[in-house]
Symmetry: C2
């Protein structure tokens, strides 16, 4: 057993300086995202998160103080990725390109970070008690500028008149996030097998085409 201690020493030494905090925070955030995705804020326990992170429970509290604070940190960390995809929407002049890029990016996020999407879904479903501010400030502003873009495209007759631009946005959000939030259902209806990468790329293209046609654009 003596050499085991030596091995541990060797393994631990390269882990240098202030990275300890960073590393552990990332481990805990990832574990928390997974657990919160499955059970929501109230349904998740700090012990579950600790076990998932393979750390003692006290450690979770040492880094994040309370469960609620950890939950907020998870939500915020998801928002960063969320906003990156969103920001591009208004940078394209042509609706075809804007929709293609944005829908594609949202589909990719659903694929790469399904737990994050689920945590957000849970939060909104339960009345967004922690995210009310962000929704009515940050998100509201982004949506307003999106709506303007869409309305301009309608005026320029680049897309058909969809009535309320929000309706189109909601369709895009709902459809793309469905592949993350309801991935289990998607799997069951795919004969119990998870979508392969190439299958997912197919669906992504199909979703893009559906959305394009829905506003009168020929894919």
């Amino acid at each position: 057993m003596g050499n085991l201690t030596d091995a541990a020493k060797v393994r631990r030494s390269p882990r240098s300086k202030e990275t300890i905090r960073e590393e552990n925070e990332l481990i805990i955030l990832a574990a928390a995202e997974k657990v919160f995705a499955k059970h929501g804020l109230k349904g998740s326990t700090t012990k579950q998160i600790a076990d998932t992170a393979k750390l003692p429970k006290s450690n979770i509290h040492y880094y994040f103080y309370t469960k609620l604070n950890l939950y907020r940190c998870v939500l915020e960390s998801i928002l960063v990725d969320w906003m990156k995809a969103a920001d591009t929407f208004n940078t394209f002049d042509e609706p075809r390109e804007a929709i293609r890029y944005y829908v594609g990016a949202k589909m990719d996020l659903s694929r790469t970070r399904p737990f994050g999407s689920k945590v957000w879904a849970n939060e909104i479903i339960s009345g967004a008690p922690e995210m009310e501010e962000i929704l009515s400030s940050k998100l509201k502003k982004w949506v307003d500028s999106c709506v303007q873009s869409i309305n301009r495209w309608v005026e320029l007759e680049k897309i058909v008149n969809v009535g309320d631009a929000h309706t189109l946005l909601y369709m895009i959000w709902a459809t793309t996030q469905h592949y993350a939030d309801f991935d289990y259902q998607v799997m069951i209806l795919n004969n119990g097998k998870k979508l392969t990468d190439s299958e997912f790329e197919e669906k992504k293209q199909q979703v893009i085409d559906l959305v394009l046609r829905s506003v009168g654009l020929n894919p």
Copy 2:
């Protein structure tokens, strides 16, 4: 205080025979649907449900034994409404009518029974631990026949080729259920006001038109 007892007697007497159980079960189911929608299975407490139902906690256990059993009963009761709307999809020959009717019915359900939709959403998000059987039997069968209908429409060139028919179905589900599951977000982005009945009818028509165009049909 004597007449208060008399009043109670008078009020209670018309409540006849075996309706006691029926009445209470309905009250508890409604309360449970509301609470489960907000907090999920694990996050909800029997006390919350009891308070919402304005009954003592023991009463909930008397009628439904355990929290898990009550949860299952709620899910089943929602499924009934769900399936009613679903059954009609394959009764129409023309895709335009089938889509119009089905999307309309799903939107109406989102409006009239948002809590039910949320409970299902929560259940699927958390991996459908209680509904796995139903998903892979009942739902799978219905979806398969739906997919056939859609594929036939494609062959007859009544709608454009959407690739995998599932993609279209998911878009319909996701978009319509968005108005229930994310109603809080919809409200915030509607300047903090709930959608009025006439606003909702507008959105419903817009969703129908988007879906119709997405498969190449002119609304």
